[in-house]
């Protein structure tokens, strides 16, 4: 009797545990997983943009040195709720690694990205702080360039059961002294899939 009970417990345990889905790493496949934008799309767009930007020579400062770049407005003109940082962060990392530019976080389109640059300067009259360690006046770098962009989505019906969705990643590097666009780039990603539902 005891043996039967143990057997039943083992059997039940196996039955109820066998089907649970264990977490796993997403394998990179050639075919897109979704009609929306995913990690690989951002990686591809960023990689292409950075290569084009660096190859263009727009970031080669005369006499050497690095440009200071700020982030301008990135417009998400798609139907997907995405964080445009997924694209811009990759570009920023690549620019920094290239040694041709540094990013400023003290000035941004919706205020400074890092408020601490300004905050630490408020400590100038605070006796509790060693004044010689507080940033001096006139030391913050003003940006030379601004990176702006837009992600546009265009969806059309391809045939009776499929739809084609195209994403355009458009980027512009503007020299702030002259207001001239030193570089512009566009990467397009297209996906073909079922027309049963919407792309988001």
């Amino acid at each position: 009797m005891k043996l039967i009970t143990i057997g039943a417990i083992i059997f039940t345990t196996l039955l109820f545990t066998g089907c649970a889905t264990k977490p796993q790493y997403v394998k990179t496949a050639d075919a897109p997983i979704t009609m929306g934008l995913d990690r690989r799309d951002f990686a591809k767009a960023a990689e292409a943009a950075v290569k084009d930007l660096l190859d263009s020579g727009a970031m080669d400062r005369k006499g050497g040195g690095r440009y200071v770049v700020t982030m301008g407005r990135m417009i998400n003109d798609t139907t997907q709720r995405i964080d445009t940082d997924m694209l811009t962060k990759k570009i920023r990392i690549a620019l920094l690694k290239s040694g041709k530019a540094v990013m400023t976080t003290a000035v941004g389109v919706d205020g400074p990205e890092d408020v601490m640059t300004k905050e630490v300067r408020k400590l100038r009259d605070d006796d509790e702080f060693k004044q010689s360690t507080i940033a001096k006046k006139g030391t913050i770098y003003s940006p030379d360039m601004s990176l702006t962009g837009k992600i546009i989505q265009r969806t059309v019906k391809a045939n009776s059961s499929d739809q084609l969705v195209e994403y355009y990643f458009q980027l512009t590097m503007t020299q702030l002294e002259t207001g001239l666009a030193f570089w512009e780039g566009e990467t397009t990603i297209g996906k073909l899939g079922s027309n049963d539902s919407v792309t988001w």
Binding site: N76, D77, T78, T79, R81, D196
Partner: protein, 447 residues
């Protein structure tokens, strides 16, 4: 009792038992209760919340809940409800498997469509994203508002295709029903359509099932977001839909050559209550028995008009102009869907009439059971998102530093706005009935 009859009894009992009360009561009571909730402007969400938690027509009640919360200026809650409905539109309607669809059409033929989950209308999906866009605008979140307006416009693009392919698919499926030819009998169909002449004749549908409000409002949004090119393109589309509309034309001309020398306030006014459905019963001839016409009562949904509120609103001598008639949008879709609704209801009636005929033959008890089954389950599906307005109106006034005094059509002051200088704004007003006015938070352009 022979075996066949006992099977019929069993089938009837099981059908009614498992389909729940709505098979016999319909949805009229719950819709009426919600009307009272809306009318009393209560911000108690228990009624919709209970239904959503019970998974009872979540798409319908989440949409209604979104409207209720918007009326209470709780834009975050409103978007939570709308998000819920949108999620289900994708998983339970768009991507529903064919197997499930066959099941739902079988139960609608055996019982009635009330037992199936509410699947909404295309115009409701478009309005869902439009309201979400408006909610995000009110919250000052133009990034997410842009996404919602893009979604609403994409749904409009899909609408045209939906009506040309999906409805055809549903009709093809019904045409394989063994009673299809009997249901399509011209005398039977004529008896039905004669009763719908009043709503189907003399109305002009907007082209391609587009809701001109979504196009126009999206244009205003993109203008206030500083995307003048996109705003202009959308207003151009709006003008092509309604070339005689003075307000739309004037706005297009402004967008076409805007130089920021002047600033404006747009006042959008949602007027009254949209068309809703109620049940109508028609005695129609059925030619299902040889050499004998049999008359039976069919229950069908029929649109009816509900009242408007103030005819217009005004600022100074300027009056608001209708930019989109929601009733026309609703009617156009209902007309397009009606042939399938009538066909399914007729097929349903034929099956029930046969069943009753068989039971009648079995004796008195059988006759009573059959009659009860038929009369109890003969209910029309009258569900729809009833919180929508009758029409949308717009009025643009130039800002000159003076306060904007908005009055109703009886010259009573609704609200006074003091708008800061050098900025364009959107003011949103909804009035479902006289005396019930909701003035939303002023929306300032993004600079």
């Amino acid at each position: 009792m022979d075996l066949r009859l006992s099977r019929v009894y069993l089938l009837l009992i099981i059908s009614v038992f498992f389909s729940g009360c709505v098979a016999t009561t319909g949805h009229g009571d719950s819709l009426q209760t919600f009307e009272k909730v809306l009318k009393n402007s209560t911000c108690n969400y228990a009624f919709v919340q209970d239904r959503i938690e019970d998974k009872d027509d979540v798409i319908l009640w989440a949409s209604q809940g979104g409207s209720q919360a918007r009326n209470c200026f709780d834009y975050n809650r409103s978007n939570l409800y709308f998000d819920k409905a949108e999620e289900l539109y994708k998983s339970d309607v768009d991507l529903q498997s064919n197997a499930n669809r066959v099941g739902s059409s079988a139960s609608s033929i055996l019982i009635n469509n009330n037992v199936n989950d509410y699947e909404g209308n295309v115009y409701e999906k478009v309005m869902l994203n439009t309201y979400k866009g408006l909610n995000f605008m009110a919250l000052g979140d133009f990034v997410n508002a842009r996404i919602e307006f893009n979604r609403a416009l994409d749904r409009q693009r899909r609408a045209k295709d939906y009506f040309s392919s999906e409805i055809k698919k549903a009709q093809q499926k019904s045409s394989r029903d063994k009673n299809y030819n009997k249901a399509q009998n011209r005398h039977t169909q004529k008896a039905i359509y004669d009763r719908y002449q009043d709503i189907f004749s003399e109305f002009r549908a907007y082209p391609d099932f587009v809701n001109p409000y979504t196009t126009y409002l999206s244009g205003l949004f993109f203008f206030l977001d500083g995307d003048y090119k996109k705003a202009r393109d959308l207003l151009k589309e709006s003008v092509s839909m309604q070339p005689q509309n003075e307000q739309i034309r004037a706005d297009f001309e402004l967008f076409d050559s805007y130089k920021r020398e002047k600033n404006y306030a747009w006042i959008i006014y949602e007027n009254g209550q949209s068309m809703a459905k109620r049940e109508t019963r028609i005695n129609i001839p059925l030619f299902i028995f040889t050499n004998k016409v049999y008359y039976a009562g069919i229950a069908l949904p029929k649109l009816y008009e509900r009242a408007g509120s103030y005819e217009y609103i005004q600022v100074g001598k300027q009056k608001s102009v209708v930019v989109a008639d929601m009733d026309s949008v609703i009617k156009a879709e209902f007309e397009k869907r009606f042939s399938q609704i009538a066909l399914e209801a007729t097929l349903n009636l034929i099956v029930k009439t046969y069943t009753q005929y068989e039971l009648n033959k079995s004796g008195l008890l059988g006759g009573i059971v059959g009659m009860l089954y038929q009369s109890l389950t003969n209910r029309a599906d009258i569900r729809s998102w009833t919180a929508l307005p009758k029409n949308f109106q717009s009025l643009r006034v130039e800002l000159n530093g003076n306060p904007v005094i908005i009055k109703d059509s009886r010259a009573n002051v609704i609200s006074t706005f003091h708008v800061e200088k050098n900025i364009n704004v959107l003011i949103y007003i909804k009035s479902s009935s006289l005396g019930d006015i909701k003035v939303h938070k002023i929306i300032k352009e993004k600079r």
